[in-house]
């Protein structure tokens, strides 16, 4: 467990990702750590959050007791609508996604392959009820796909791999990965390290990756 203290916390990963969200972007944040990105957007940037169930201009959760069961996000949590928000139906919402109108989405991952393949919807366990939601549409349509994930599973298995063993969400779709250990771009040659987290050596990150990392510089 002490190894978890090396590298970034979940919030620090979200904070690092937030630095890369440009001013003026239309952004979809997945459930879990990706949702935290909104809390760390640098001051002075105006970003419009899309939630695929039908809202652009999603705001923070409501004050306790002030929520509306008919105003929720894709995780089915109650949210608010910012001034300038718009509601729309599901086919329009996914036209925004599939049609390439959204600038950035941030998703979680079970595995990312060095080709940019993403697996994040199913472990393929035979007794599991399969459920996919909007993940396959997001990776097929959004211009830039970021992934935030722990570098390894709780059991220490690498999540950055040569090729995914779990069922795929999309082929060659991931642009950049933010882990507790590093920021990594998916480039033609594989996993390009952009930066290592404080106190993390290249060798340490490489040992925990089941594919070759390309060193920074």
């Amino acid at each position: 467990m002490s190894e978890r203290h090396v590298g970034l916390t979940r919030d620090e990963m979200a904070q690092r990702c937030a630095l890369d969200i440009p001013d003026g972007a239309y952004v979809n944040l997945g459930i879990g750590i990706p949702e935290r990105v909104a809390a760390f957007l640098p001051a002075g940037r105006e970003v419009i959050y899309h939630t695929e169930n039908g809202l652009l201009g999603m705001g923070p959760p409501p004050r306790p007791g002030a929520g509306d069961p008919e105003l929720i996000n894709a995780g089915k949590q109650q949210v608010t609508a910012n001034p300038g928000a718009a509601y729309f139906h599901h086919a329009d919402s996914f036209a925004m996604i599939r049609g390439g109108h959204l600038d950035v989405c941030v998703l979680g991952a079970l595995q990312v392959a060095q080709s940019g393949d993403l697996a994040n919807w199913s472990t393929g366990a035979p007794d599991a009820i399969p459920a996919v939601g909007g993940a396959m549409d997001l990776v097929a349509g959004v211009k830039t796909v970021y992934v935030i994930t722990q570098h390894t599973t709780r059991d220490g298995e690498a999540k950055l791999v040569e090729s995914c063993t779990y069922p795929l969400t999309g082929l060659g779709v991931v642009d950049r990965i933010y882990t507790d250990l590093a920021v990594i771009d998916v480039v033609d040659g594989g996993f390009q390290v952009v930066e290592l987290s404080p106190g993390v050596s290249f060798a340490y990150a490489q040992e925990r990756t089941a594919a070759e990392l390309i060193p920074h510089e």
Partner: protein, 236 residues
């Protein structure tokens, strides 16, 4: 005179037949037409194919319909819920089949069905298990999959307001699948919190024009799924 308003939810769903395909609006509890679903449970139709994003929560609404054994097939994108084992039990026992569809593909299949388009190509799910067996074609160097439009015998929709012509406005994110399901069903039934006089709804803000709606019923104080579940309600 056109008057699509009916007096009760029981009357609204009276002709749903065994084996019908029913589109049910809602994403989670937002937009779930609970009173129409409960009326359908009372009415008794069975062997239904139901199209919804999810499979319901607790033991009310859609989950109660599934629990009552009335649903032989679900077409949905996310049949998982933190507070219900109704669908998993029916799925594992083989009583209720599942057609899993990516959420955006589901919405567009419904829209296409309502728009008279039998099939279309989409980039979603290429190279994934959900794309297996589908016809593939390349346009401008990118691969796409052929998927079919969806239509239904009935659609159940929850709205904020409607008029006797069937014009509809929705509430916030409860709109979700309502407008496209209204287009795709031969008989679209809307439960509205208020049925207002013709002319009261501003034509500029009507979301679903009345041509897509066959029946309107007023449910002045509709239940919210989460509140029923918190109160321990199990329907019937």
């Amino acid at each position: 005179m056109i008057n699509k308003q009916v007096a009760s939810v029981a009357e609204a769903v009276a002709d749903v037949f065994d084996g019908a395909t029913v589109m049910i609006g809602g994403f989670g509890e937002a937009g779930s037409p609970i009173e129409l679903i409960h009326a359908l449970i009372d009415q008794g139709a069975t062997d239904l194919t139901v199209v919804n994003n999810n499979t319901g929560s607790g033991e009310v609404g859609l989950a109660a319909l599934i629990k009552a054994g009335r649903v032989s097939k679900m077409i949905c994108s996310y049949p998982r819920s933190t507070n219900s084992t109704v669908f998993p039990d029916k799925y594992r026992s083989g009583h209720t089949a599942l057609e899993l569809v990516p959420q955006g593909t589901l919405a567009e299949r419904i829209r296409a069905g309502g728009a008279g388009i039998p099939a279309f190509y989409t980039p979603t799910a290429v190279g994934t298990p959900l794309g297996e067996g589908l016809e593939r074609r390349t346009f401008d160097g990118r691969d796409y999959l052929l998927v079919h439009g969806l239509t239904a015998d009935f659609a159940f929709i929850r709205a904020r307001a409607a008029d006797r012509h069937g014009n509809v406005v929705y509430s916030k994110t409860a709109r979700n699948y309502g407008p496209v399901m209204a287009m795709a069903a031969r008989t679209t039934i809307v439960q509205a919190t208020a049925v207002v006089d013709v002319g009261e709804l501003d034509p500029e803000i009507i979301v679903t024009p009345g041509i897509f709606v066959q029946r309107v019923v007023e449910v002045a104080d509709p239940a919210h799924e989460s509140e029923l579940i918190a109160a321990g309600v199990s329907y019937p």
